[in-house]
């Protein structure tokens, strides 16, 4: 065994340690105040924080809202993204969808929410365009569209934001499913397009898609920015309430916030359990449909337009909302019911320009450092898993995804304490390391399924021809899996660029990124400034996603079987 092999063998353990230490420190920082161990509360250890939480009259409504909007939006996003692929795969429109994907993916959540809010509000863009000639409104009507009690606006926002992510995950996984040949066989047996996809491709695809879907559910249930802008407020969702308690100026509710964060974690786990049950039901339905020989060829006529319509609505809403913000960024005075601003000005942009370059450079450097480190670790883990026949246990997987399901605001103070005690504060390196904690799980979940689904017979052939494991990795597996590797890197880049609280808390405010600037500015609600920063904040990850989609096509322009579909 060479030194390299020995190092490789250590990779999974090292990676887990690198994740586990901050995660456990963060969790300890959450658990302690929840059980009354907090120098500030002045109370002894005990369950009084949970009692306070129980006494909060909004608890039931907040929990219900988190579950319905989180699970509902994830289910819709999954159906829509699968529907788009089922309908368009192998058709010309498919390439267009792929091209549109990257800018949509890169939209920061807060910007997406504000864009949507401006679009659908009673004084928003749609109302402005239709008023007064069609609606007769000279002043905005008093309609409860945003912040509706059922959380419909919030669900729409989450669907719009999560669908592109799931689509990207599907596109990365699709080549591993041999979809074209399966669909051809199914079509020749008389199956309709949608049913052929559901019966032959979906089972193989979903196995790879499961972890990203879980991440989406966890994210949607714990989302803060979107819920603050689009969600109801009487009461808000549980995740928003955690933030409100944790940031209360008199510091009296830190224990309640921590207790609520733990309830939030339990909720996510329960929702994932529920989802698993749903998977079992879905599987038996599919099996039943397969055995019955139901070909559903006619169903395509109704299903395809429906699915496309479903897919178009959130994509259009997101795009139009962002266009609205873009117009705001160059708008002079713009009052209701004018469809467009009276005058255009570059004032907002010229105001934002100084300091922008530096913030963008910092964002990019941090993102590259965190992403490259995470990518190297994930590749080493996956390769070690393959070469030494290791099998990650369920516990290990849970540990890996903890940073995604514990609400950041509850988890970060503990992490900050750790960084401060270790003397690693305010530094650029510490911030990059913490970004890595959040980037790594996403890189892992984007990459692991396509990596494992790779056709191992290629490796056997290579070995038979005398190639070493090392050579098989560098010259066969990595090049063939270039698309999913780059996609994972782009996702990692976007995750890093979007980090606000970790950057602020660990960096002590001394590491200034586009996102720390943008979030601080968006707390002022100025649409012009938000528009400016949202566009810039999108630009960095958008370049990353565009490269991830374009590079494999360029590199493998001469190899038909290595495209992305």
């Amino acid at each position: 065994m060479t030194v390299g092999d020995r190092l490789l063998r250590l990779a999974p353990g090292v990676t887990l340690c690198l994740l586990a230490v901050p995660v456990l420190a963060g969790l300890a920082g959450t658990l302690a105040p929840a059980f009354g161990i907090d120098p500030l509360s002045g109370r002894g250890a005990g369950l009084s924080a949970f009692a306070d939480l129980w006494d909060w009259p909004g608890l039931r409504a907040a929990v219900w809202l988190s579950v319905t909007s989180g699970v509902g939006s994830s289910l819709l996003a999954l159906v829509i993204s699968l529907g788009v692929v089922a309908t368009l795969i192998g058709r010309p429109g498919f390439a267009t969808v792929q091209r549109l994907l990257s800018p949509l993916l890169a939209v920061p959540h807060a910007a997406a929410a504000l864009g949507l809010a401006f679009l659908i509000a009673p004084s928003g863009w749609i109302a402005r365009i239709l008023s007064p000639w069609a609606t007769g409104w000279t002043q905005p009507p008093d309609l409860l569209i945003l912040n509706d009690p059922a959380g419909l606006a919030l669900t729409l926002g989450l669907v719009a934001k999560e669908t592109p992510f799931l689509l990207l995950m599907i596109l990365a996984a699709l080549p591993q499913t041999d979809a074209d040949r399966r669909l051809t066989v199914a079509a020749s047996l008389g199956y309709g397009r949608v049913s052929a996809f559901a019966l032959t491709v979906l089972p193989a695809l979903y196995a790879q898609l499961r972890l990203p879907v879980y991440a989406v559910i966890a994210y949607a249930m714990t989302a803060v920015e979107m819920a603050m802008i689009l969600g109801p407020t009487l009461p808000p969702s549980l995740s928003v309430q955690v933030v409100l308690w944790a940031t209360e100026p008199n510091l009296a509710h830190r224990g309640t916030a921590a207790a609520a964060a733990l309830v939030q974690v339990a909720l996510v786990i329960a929702a994932l359990g529920l989802w698993r049950l749903g998977e079992a039901v879905g599987r038996s339905l599919l099996c039943h449909a397969a055995r019955s020989g139901w070909r559903a060829a006619r169903a395509d006529l109704a299903l395809q337009p429906l699915l496309l319509g479903l897919a178009l609505a959130p994509a259009l809403a997101l795009t139009a909302g962002l266009a609205g913000l873009a117009v705001w960024s160059v708008a002079g005075p713009w009052t209701f019911p004018e469809a467009l601003p009276d005058t255009l000005t570059l004032q907002t942009w010229s105001r934002a320009a100084p300091g922008l370059w530096q913030a963008a450079t910092t964002s990019l450097t941090l993102a590259l450092a965190a992403t490259l480190a995470a990518l190297a670790l994930v590749l080493a883990c996956l390769e070690a898993e393959h070469r030494f026949g290791l099998n990650p246990s369920a516990t290990v997987l849970w540990l890996l995804y903890l940073p995604l399901i514990v609400p950041q605001v509850a988890f970060l103070p503990g992490l900050q304490m750790l960084a401060l005690s270790a003397g690693a504060q305010g530094g650029w390196g510490a911030v990059a390391a913490v970004h890595g904690v959040f980037v790594l799980p996403y890189v892992f979940l984007s990459l692991s399924a396509p990596w494992r689904a790779w056709d191992g017979r290629i490796a056997v052939q290579g070995a038979a021809l005398g190639a070493s494991p090392r050579r098989i990795f560098w010259q066969l597996r990595l090049p063939i899996l270039l698309a999913p590797v780059l996609t994972a890197a782009a996702v990692g880049l976007a995750v890093s660029v979007g980090q606000y609280l970790p950057t602020l808390l660990i960096g002590g405010g001394r590491v200034e990124t586009l996102t720390t600037e943008a979030v601080a500015l968006s707390s002022g609600g100025n649409r012009r400034v938000i528009g400016t920063y949202a566009l810039l904040q999108m630009a960095l990850p958008a370049v990353g996603f565009a490269l991830a989609l374009a590079l494999p096509r360029l590199v493998y322009a001469n190899r038909r079987g290595m495209g992305t579909g």
């Binding site: 120098p39 500030l40 009259p57 909004g58 409504a61 509000a121 009673p122 004084s123 002043q139 905005p140 008093d142 409860l144 945003l146 912040n147 509706d148 009690p149 603050m228 109801p232 407020t233 009487l234 009461p235 409100l244 944790a246 940031t247 209360e248 100026p249 008199n250 510091l251 002079g332 005075p333 009052t335 209701f336 004032q347 934002a352 103070p413 900050q416 304490m417 401060l420 005690s421 504060q425 606000y500 602020l504 808390l505 002590g508 405010g509 001394r510 200034e512 720390t516 600037e517 979030v519 601080a520 500015l521 968006s522 707390s523 002022g524 609600g525 100025n526 649409r527 012009r528 400034v529």
Partner: protein
């Protein structure tokens, strides 16, 4: 809190003596501050304020006598900086902290002071302190009834003013009773930010001040024995207007910027802000139509001051004091009061300024929508912080979880 003339005299006298005693110390402070980089943690939500802080930074660096570099750490919420200092304290970091200066007041100040997280007293030793109008503007030494004791230095005054668009509403209501009638007669055209938001809570306090039998009660901590009975008129006022609020009270704007946006979008006809110059500055920035004007209620509106404080473990504490002093410089204060810049009301005493410095303020236009000091009327002092906490709690229980 009302101070007697004699108490004023004592405070003013003490503050005149202090700088002379501190003169020696101050040169030590400026010597130590030279070359320091001060990290000022301040809300970063308003480009106008961000530009002003950048201007202060340029002054601190340009003026050869200081040589201090100022970095504005832009926060979405002041609580983030408080949490940072707290974490440092819990981790045993008693020096070299990341936060040098915080923009602070009210509950954040009370919490930090109670937790002994602040350095001080320092404010009354600043060379520019004698220029501060302690007698005429008691809010500069009283933060939510809590004496500041020199643990924070004031830099701007704020007072609640209502904003309306004359193009849609020619004559606004001038008293609480008129306001109540106007709201019920114009359903959906008034809103207030959802408590416990700062501005929303201020609205509740303003109403409470108007409907309570004896407003002096508000200057002492809540007395649980009579609390329930005392606040009955507040709830009946709110019960009266809620069905006629924007969205029938089923949704509330999140904060001051969100409320201001509703006025700008024409969704409501009356909004309010904690800065008498906000409307003028927003008109100048093109965010509000130039027909917007402001008004106050008969009998006065609640006012307070914005402060800067230095955490106990600040790494660049001398530099932070230099900045705190620089913000009290008449030229800097005059710039902050310029309606084209911020429109903040100065904390300085015009009578204490030199003729040249006074001229800087006299030269300022008031701003098209800003009321003159006389028109602004009496400033009501903030109630004791316990009132805000208690009323917020009850508001959430009564209205905050209806769904």
């Amino acid at each position: 809190m009302r101070l007697t003339r004699r108490q004023f005299g004592l405070i003013a006298g003490a503050s005149l003596l202090a700088p002379r005693a501190m003169a020696q110390d101050w040169s030590a402070v400026t010597d130590a501050a030279r070359g320091q980089t001060v990290y000022w943690h301040a809300w970063g939500g308003d480009p106008k304020i961000n530009d002003f802080i950048a201007f202060v930074g340029a002054q601190a660096q340009a003026q050869a006598r200081y040589g201090v570099t100022l970095e504005h750490v832009k926060l979405a919420s002041t609580a983030d900086a408080v949490a940072r200092v707290l974490a440092e304290r819990d981790a045993g970091q008693t020096s070299g902290g990341a936060v040098d200066l915080i923009w602070i007041n009210g509950e954040n100040f009370a919490a930090m002071k109670a937790q002994r997280l602040l350095l001080g007293p320092f404010a009354e030793s600043l060379p520019n302190w004698p220029l501060v109008d302690v007698a005429g503007k008691p809010a500069v030494v009283t933060d939510f009834t809590l004496p500041t004791m020199g643990y924070e230095s004031p830099w701007a005054l704020a007072q609640l003013v209502f904003e309306y668009d004359t193009a849609r509403l020619p004559t606004p209501p001038r008293s609480l009773a008129e306001m109540q009638r106007w709201i019920t007669e114009h359903p959906g055209r008034f809103a207030y930010p959802q408590p416990p938001d700062y501005l929303g809570a201020t609205f509740l306090k303003q109403v409470l001040h108007g409907v309570i039998g004896d407003p002096t009660l508000l200057q002492s901590p809540v007395d649980e024995a009579v609390y329930e009975a005392t606040v009955v008129p507040l709830w009946s006022f709110l019960d009266g207007i809620h069905p006629a609020l924007w969205r029938e009270g089923r949704a509330f704007p999140a904060n001051e910027p969100a409320l201001g946006q509703l006025l700008a979008d024409g969704e409501i006809d009356i909004s309010f802000a904690f800065n008498p110059g906000r409307a003028s500055a927003e008109i100048a920035a093109g965010n509000l139509p130039d027909t917007v004007r402001t008004f106050v209620l008969d009998g006065g509106t609640i006012g307070n001051a914005s402060f800067v404080a230095i955490p106990f473990n600040a790494a660049n504490r001398e530099g932070a004091q230099v900045i705190a002093n620089l913000i009290l410089d008449p030229a800097v204060q005059a710039r902050a009061q310029d309606p084209a810049v911020l429109g903040f009301q100065t904390v300085l005493d015009m009578a204490a300024l030199t003729a040249e410095d006074r001229a800087r303020f006299d030269a300022l236009a008031l701003g098209v929508a800003t009321l003159s000091p006389t028109e602004l009327g009496p400033v009501l002092l903030e109630p004791h912080a316990s009132w805000m906490t208690r009323i917020n709690q009850d508001w959430i229980a009564r209205y905050g979880t209806v769904q």
